[in-house]
């Protein structure tokens, strides 16, 4: 019976070379977990992170090996193209930064190093699957593979109530999001009879009006947008963000704010621009409205916050609104602008989070704004990278953030959504109020005298190094943007956009 079934199912051909980056991440996760079981402090504190880094470097190497590929693998379940490869690089880079940030993190001890890094690698594998997915099933598998380890990682600082709360909150709300997404995907399958993106697109274009106005299809599309919007923290599905970001251990917050966002936007781009591109006229106004709401809500929400992690959480919501603009216009220019902004957003946000992590460990003020008071005169080596990151997030010229926003605004104008470009500018203006507040706290003479007295500047050169590298890159790409242009060029064509 089993033998009969086995012969009747034809196993798909697998192009192992193209599949190798994902394989490397999954194998690495297993190996790291097993190493973590070995006894000894040295194993836990050095070999486990070392093995994680090796896994990431191997993935990076394999990704670069596959550079320039543009194929579908495993019966069309995954796409290996410019979009997924660029994002793989982003994920690996973020993973490396997160490993470095976690080296002295309490959470790794409390949760167990082996488990912590395994979860990190598993989540990265989920992201790699997700951005390559071109099939509803792989999409869902990817999203769950990325989310479930993150739920645990958020709660990994076991002895801190806030961390546990963040994990639980993320799990419950995340489940609502996942359920919505799954529901939507099944509706779409029901309406089009296909799980492949290309099959859905073919069904939409061949049967035209009958499906395009089919309530089943439209409801499914709406639910899918909500589910993806949840992962990408698009307002009004963003409310978990500040709470979870604040509660999670800072390296994990940093990881979520960049890698999860990149993954969510990666699949958002592919789903909207490949599967349902023929319905663009229907969903464009909706996404435009969501982008507008997100920009406004994210930026006004960040005002009057006192926790820097919360400010950065709201800021990431607002930045998500900017990124969404590139999807709204559904053009190659829009896709490349989004991808470009994702890359620079990762760099500048990591610079900011490095400083937050460093300050969290140096003072007793945690991530409160007061931990940054007078930083300019006391620790300029941290204050300068933070200032650069804030200016770049706000989009000040000569930083990478400026060029990124310029591209998005340019794409929005070319795509006849100039008003969204204007909104990006207005949002940036509002955002100055909280980005510059952090800068002001650091550099203005501290009159109230409540700057942290209990400084414990113990050596953490790796974090300071991260902050400097990321902020230097922010300036470098603000002046010489061409390397990133070269990186993202062709991503739009690779998925068939004009």
């Amino acid at each position: 019976m089993i033998a009969a079934a086995a012969t009747s199912i034809k196993a798909p051909y697998i192009d192992w070379a193209a599949f190798s980056p994902i394989v490397a991440l999954i194998c690495g996760a297993v190996i790291v977990l097993l190493i973590g079981l070995l006894p000894g402090r040295r194993v836990r504190e050095q070999i486990v992170p070392g093995a994680t880094v090796l896994t990431l470097l191997a993935t990076l190497g394999l990704t670069i090996w596959q550079w320039g590929e543009n194929t579908s693998i495993i019966s069309g379940a995954l796409a290996v193209d410019r979009l997924s490869l660029v994002l793989n690089v982003v994920f690996v880079a973020t993973g490396l930064v997160t490993v470095v940030m976690s080296l002295r993190e309490r959470a790794t001890v409390q949760a167990g190093q082996g488990e912590y890094y395994t979860l990190l690698l598993a989540s990265l594998a989920g992201m790699a699957v997700l951005v390559a997915a071109q099939n509803l099933v792989t999409l869902f598998v990817g999203i769950e593979l990325l989310s479930i380890p993150l739920y645990v990682l958020c709660a990994s600082e076991l002895q801190r109530e806030k961390s546990l709360e963040a994990g639980l909150k993320y799990l419950v709300i995340g489940s609502v999001g996942s359920a919505t997404l799954l529901f939507g995907l099944s509706f779409i399958y029901g309406a089009t009879g296909s799980t492949d993106f290309s099959g859905i697109a073919a069904a939409l274009s061949s049967k035209g009006e009958t499906i395009a106005s089919n309530p089943l299809m439209l409801t499914g599309l709406g639910m899918a947008v909500v589910g993806l919007g949840f992962k990408a923290a698009i307002a009004p599905f963003h409310q978990w963000t500040p709470d979870v970001y604040e509660g999670a251990p800072s390296p994990i917050t940093s990881f979520m704010s960049v890698a999860t966002k990149a993954a969510a936007f990666g699949i958002f781009l592919r789903f909207m621009d490949v599967a349902v591109i023929d319905e663009a006229l229907t969903w464009q106004p909706l996404l435009a409205a969501l982008a507008a709401i997100t920009i406004v809500v994210g930026n006004v929400g960040a005002l009057a916050q006192t926790s820097v992690k919360r400010i950065l959480a709201w800021s990431s919501v607002a930045q998500g609104g900017y990124l969404l603009v590139g999807i709204v216009v559904s053009s190659a220019a829009g896709l490349e602008a989004t991808l470009y902004y994702l890359v620079v957003y990762v760099v500048m946000n990591l610079a900011a989070f490095s400083v937050v992590v460093a300050r969290e460990r140096e003072t007793t003020h945690g991530d409160s704004l007061s931990a940054f008071a007078g930083l300019g005169s006391k620790r300029p080596i941290l204050a300068v990278p933070m200032t650069i990151a804030m200016l770049s997030l706000a989009g000040i010229p000569a930083t990478a953030g400026f060029i990124g926003k310029l591209n998005l605004i340019g794409a929005s104008v070319d795509g006849d959504y100039a008003w969204l470009g204007v909104l990006i500018a207005i949002g940036s203006a509002i955002s100055l109020a909280y980005y510059l507040r952090i800068v002001a706290v650091m550099w203005m003479p501290d009159r109230r005298g409540d700057s942290p007295e209990t400084d414990r500047p113990h050596g953490q050169p790796e974090i300071i190094g991260l902050a400097i590298i990321c902020s230097a890159a922010t300036i470098f790409f603000g002046i010489i943007p061409s390397p990133i242009y070269d990186l993202v060029r062709g991503a739009g064509e690779s998925i068939g956009l004009l």
């Binding site: 909150k169 419950v172 709300i173 609502v176 999001g177 919505t180 395009a212 106005s213 309530p215 439209l218 409801t219 599309l221 709406g222 639910m223 947008v225 909500v226 949840f230 009004p236 599905f237 409310q239 978990w240 500040p242 709470d243 229907t282 969903w283 106004p285 909706l286 406004v296 809500v297 006004v300 929400g301 005002l303 009057a304 310029l406 591209n407 340019g410 104008v413 070319d414 509002i430 109020a433 010489i480 943007p481 061409s482 242009y485």
Partner: protein, 680 residues
């Protein structure tokens, strides 16, 4: 080393110099800062020479190279590169800029030695040279505008370098504001061109201009007039000239830098650089030529009556730049740039010599107080004479050949250009008079008390207290504001050329060049170095390079010689043989004197037409509009809205999962409803 590399290195040297001086700052000893600054520019000059050699190795019909480091922007069809445009004209300019600037740096190293802001001074100076080099090497209009604006900023910093002098900061602001007006013109003109042509780099502008516009099309004329506003502001042409004499507030070497090698020549360069555009818009070119002619006459006339030594030279610069603007606008490119070169030499020299005298005078700049320095300062006297002969276009000195080439080329165009030709020779007479008036008043006659001190003690005259010569009565230091020699004011000790080797060695090469530089481009085609060298740049010109007219050329040379010699003799009579005669002339023609002394009332005109109405608008805006509309309605309203939005968003942030989940469901219902209603 390739051509492109050497050109980039020309640009890099002053930048590196500026950054290293500025960043190391207080850690540097002043002497080292001066050395770094001077060496940086000297190195830039060396690379400029390499650039020249490499350029000359190319075949003469292909002497043009563009090079780009990276894209500054590539958005919406606009491609702006960080690129250079290396051709004979830009090479000619970088040679002059770096060469003369090197000597000015060397001079400064001696002249400013006791100034407390010495290190900052050299950082500014290197930045100034960098900006100017960026301006002349830029490969597109955007990069040119960047260099253009940097030059404006650098001039502001240097003019108000003695920042505790209120007169200096006011002069700096004036220079900056007028320059910004020019910048606006230049930017608008560029946008006009861009709107129709869609390109910004020179190569494409020049090759497409005949397709994009009809000859003398109104849009093109408007664009070129706006660009001329930029050129006029930088080059101190009427009516944007009032900043230049005030810019004398800066240290004397700065005046030398602004007037000789950098800044004021930018407008001439711009017109020369964009000559295919100007020739396609003859109306705009004519406006440039006429304004140049008016400027050379007005400035020359004011130079006749000024009593501040530096201001006389300043008006002389304005007047000479007027010649150049007139020349290049009238397609006298060889003459225009030849005169630019010889002017750079003799004007830098004159300022250096003037700085030496002012030092010996203890900071007093008034010609009324100077007398008889001939014996006291023989070296300075010799240099001043060399510069003076060249400036007044005395036969066989460099200024003689350059000015005559310029006027010959203008005259050769015939038609109404004859009027410009005549204006040029009238201006030449003015030039001779104001030049020799300076020389005779400062160097002839019974030595004044400062000259006696120099002769007797071998040291400069040091007044009991330092005063600002631009306040009170310029002839009487006791009426002037008292200063200390700390940072922000001039230093305590005055250096003059006879006692300071850096100043001497800077002046000697310039004196030689001022006398002999004319031999490289002699009339009647005897030598043709400049015209041959610049030919590839201007080969496309349809109006330059008229057929030879030896008669006109010979007539010009004779006329020029007669003017120079006769006016010199007349000046000698007025100021040496019959010392009272200038006062008599003054008494005979009081209204003319008054007009000239008040600088043709341009400052008052500006005040009445521009400043006063603007100030009234400003007061209204500040007291009424700003308070009610801006602060009240707009700022208050906008922040109020944002604040309200913020509290709404935050109040939704309850922390309860059920609230978050229900908002997601509500959002979902909204999305689904939108789709269903939209498709129904």
């Amino acid at each position: 080393m390739t051509l492109a590399t050497s050109a980039w290195l020309v640009l890099a040297c002053p930048l590196v110099g500026m950054l290293s001086i500025a960043l190391l700052g207080k850690k540097l000893s002043p002497r080292l800062a001066g050395t770094i600054g001077t060496l940086a520019i000297a190195l830039a000059f060396a690379f400029a020479v390499v650039t020249l050699i490499k350029l000359q190795q190319l075949p003469s019909n292909a002497r043009l190279e563009t090079t780009s480091l990276w894209d500054l922007a590539n958005v919406g069809g606009v491609k702006i590169e960080v690129g250079l445009y290396i051709d004979p004209l830009s090479t000619f300019m970088i040679l002059i800029v770096t060469g003369v600037s090197t000597l000015i740096h060397l001079y400064s190293a001696g002249y400013m030695q006791t100034d407390k802001g010495y290190v900052r001074y050299f950082a500014y100076l290197n930045f100034f040279v960098f900006s100017m080099l960026l301006l002349v090497l830029a490969g597109n209009l955007i990069l040119l505008i960047v260099g253009w604006a940097f030059v404006g900023a650098a001039s502001y910093m240097l003019v108000s370098y003695w920042y505790r002098r209120e007169t200096a900061t006011a002069a700096g602001i004036k220079a900056f504001v007028i320059n910004v007006i020019g910048d606006i013109g230049l930017v608008l003109g560029t946008l006009f061109l861009f709107r129709t042509m869609g390109v910004l780099d020179y190569g494409q502008l020049f090759s497409n201009i005949h397709v994009a516009f009809d000859k003398d099309a109104p849009e093109l004329v408007a664009a070129m007039l706006l660009i001329l506003v930029g050129a006029f502001a930088k080059s101190a042409q009427i009516p944007f000239h009032t900043w230049l004499p005030d810019a004398m507030e800066g240290p004397t070497p700065v005046s030398s830098l602004i007037h000789a090698a950098t800044m004021v020549t930018a407008g001439v360069y711009l017109i020369g650089r964009l000559h295919p555009l100007f020739e396609w818009a003859p109306t705009a070119a004519a406006v440039g030529a006429i304004i140049g002619a008016i400027t050379l006459l007005v400035a020359g006339s004011i130079g006749l009556v000024m009593t501040d030594l530096k201001r006389v030279i300043a008006y002389s610069t304005m007047s000479q730049i007027g010649y150049m603007i007139m020349g290049v606008s009238a397609a006298a490119y060889v003459g225009g740039f030849f005169h630019l070169m010889s002017h750079a030499f003799f004007k830098a020299l004159l300022f250096m010599a003037a700085g030496s005298i002012i030092s010996a005078m203890g900071g007093n700049q008034s010609l009324n107080n100077m007398k008889g320095f001939r014996k006291a300062m023989p070296f300075t006297f010799a240099c001043f004479l060399a510069g003076g002969f060249a400036l007044s276009a005395f036969p066989l000195f460099s200024g003689f050949f350059s000015k005559d080439t310029l006027l010959y080329e203008v005259g050769a165009r015939g038609g109404w250009y004859w009027a410009l030709y005549v204006a040029g020779y009238v201006g030449a007479a003015f030039t001779v008079f104001y030049t020799w008036r300076m020389i005779f008043r400062a160097f002839w006659g019974q030595p004044c008390k400062e000259a006696v001190v120099v002769m007797e003690t071998g040291d400069a005259y040091h007044p009991a207290q330092h005063t600002n010569p631009h306040t009170g009565n310029e002839d009487d230091p006791s009426t002037q504001e008292v200063e200390d020699p700390e940072v922000g004011f001039p230093g305590h000790e005055h250096r003059y050329a006879e006692k300071t080797w850096q100043m001497r060695y800077a002046m000697i090469p310039l004196a030689i060049l001022a006398v002999f530089a004319g031999v490289i481009q002699l009339p009647f085609g005897i030598t043709n170095v400049i015209s041959d060298f610049l030919h590839p740049t201007f080969a496309d010109s349809t109006v330059a390079y008229m057929p030879e007219d030896s008669g006109l050329e010979a007539f010009g040379l004779i006329l020029s010689s007669v003017i120079a010699i006769v006016s010199l003799i007349a000046a000698y009579w007025i100021w040496v043989r019959r010392p009272g005669s200038s006062a008599a002339i003054q008494a005979r023609l009081p209204w003319i004197h008054k007009l000239f002394v008040n600088k043709w009332y341009f400052d008052e005109l500006n005040h009445a037409v521009i400043i006063a109405p603007m100030a009234a608008v400003g007061r209204f805006a500040k007291n009424t509009f700003e308070r009610i509309v801006i602060d009240g309605a707009m700022v208050g309203g906008a922040t109020g809205i944002v604040r309200a939005g913020s509290s709404v968003v935050r109040s939704g942030q309850s922390g309860y999962m059920r609230a978050y989940a229900s908002l997601i469901v509500l959002g979902l219902i909204g999305v689904a409803l939108y789709f269903l209603i939209e498709s129904a």
